[in-house]
Point group: C2
Chain length 266, copies 2
């Protein structure tokens, strides 16, 4: 198993009840990454379903989740031939940390689309032209140590106080400890980019309020491309959309989150 494979392990303890050990390696500043938490909830939803894939996950992030033991409660609300839907809750100390609605279905690998839109523009530059933007600081950086992300330099000016002026971030995505793309990797990938609001001049923690993502195809092996964008930042609320494309040139996941901005400037 890889680090991520171990981190998303769940243990069934009763019907609709699971235990998990939340891995602090997937924390950013002490708070566990929302994509990691969605991956855990999806594991449980798939476990109770006759279907293989979490085709739709809507998650509301209620409280900060930190490393340590947690429970997952899954309540199946409908099981159908094409899809099944459950409520899934990540719980600690009897308090819900994340509430999700997860619909499972089965996607056949290699399905030819009936219709597919153009890849997002602008394109992500080739992998070897995208730096990792790691500093020389080698102490444990949590989430950033678990992934191997290479960023489009055009979308990283905010690091030097020169935000792009548009809510865009693009990057290549792989795990540092190899783990080939699957449904759970996609759950992580849709919440792996720095907040697009950083390129509008905001900094600091940008808590996700709600994130819905859809798995659209079984991803091919190899690095994923993440294309993050957004449409509006108003009253402290912003939306962030991420499309995930695989090495075979297919859109394999799409997400939108509604989040709050941190402090302007810095």
């Amino acid at each position: 198993m890889s680090r991520f494979g171990d981190a998303i392990a769940i243990r069934r303890v009763a019907e609709g009840r699971y235990e998990a050990d939340l891995d602090g390696g997937f924390a950013i500043g002490g708070a566990l990454n929302g994509g990691y938490l969605m991956a855990l909830l999806a594991r449980a939803a798939v476990d109770v379903s006759p279907h293989a894939h979490p085709v739709s996950t809507a998650a509301a992030f209620l409280r900060v989740a930190k490393a340590g033991p947690a429970e997952i409660h899954v309540d199946t609300r409908k099981t159908g031939r094409t899809a099944a839907t459950s409520r899934a809750t990540l719980v600690r100390d009897d308090k819900p940390l994340v509430e999700a609605l997860i619909t499972t279905g089965t996607l056949e690998p290699g399905t030819e689309p009936s219709w597919a839109g153009e890849p997002p523009a602008p394109a992500l530059p080739p992998y070897d032209q995208c730096p990792d933007f790691r500093s020389g600081d080698e102490r444990d950086r949590g989430f950033a140590d678990q992934v191997d992300m290479r960023y489009d330099p055009a979308t990283m000016g905010w690091l030097d106080g020169q935000p792009l002026g548009r809510p865009e971030v693009r990057a290549w995505f792989e795990f540092a400890d190899p783990y080939e793309p699957d449904a759970y990797a996609l759950a992580l990938a849709v919440d792996a980019l720095p907040p697009v609001a950083f390129n509008l001049g905001f900094r600091g923690w940008a808590p996700t309020v709600e994130l819905t993502w859809h798995m659209r195809a079984v991803p091919a092996p190899g690095p994923l491309q993440l294309h993050g964008g957004g449409r509006l930042l108003a009253g402290g609320w912003f939306d962030e959309e991420v499309e995930v494309w695989d090495s075979a040139g297919r859109m394999v996941a799409q997400s939108r989150q509604l989040a709050r901005v941190g402090r302007p400037g810095s």
Copy 2:
């Protein structure tokens, strides 16, 4: 009260329990419109919240809802200063018809965006250049009688067996029986267009599996513009995104749904 105002009335019968009379006027082919059901659930979520607006609604559509009495169960999962989140369920005969996760917040009217993206392209033609595409048949048509929608003719060729070849539909939206835009009108508006898959040559019922929408601003009075698009149709699943813009030129709501296609051709 208008027909829509009456149709979304709810009666509180206990803590977190409401009764509603589902109005068959909002049915399409016997099945009640999902946007109408989301509006009812949002009414209940706002009623239990200290906040004024349903800023984020994620809904899974489990069973067809028909006209008649129903219950709404609301379970608050967190109440915070900026946002509160509830699970809301539309129930009939002890079975969930729609499961939703609703986060409420308060949006100030007239908030100037910190950043706003360009209006969608292509633009919707002026109102008087958009026909209503009503046939001469004046019998009760349900949903289509409750709204006054004027469609971009470029996106209506599917009616004559000439689909556009791209998943796009655009229209002006008002209620037939006047009701000024508010949060609940927006819930209806994001699910009011014909399925974008009709412009890819599919016809028939296209059931929504999951729809998430965000209210982004308090809408100005006057007609709304609906811009529907999509990114992928594969294995019978398609996504449909709708942006709702108000008469003041602001994006007031954005949605994405995952749905299933009906029969190809016909």
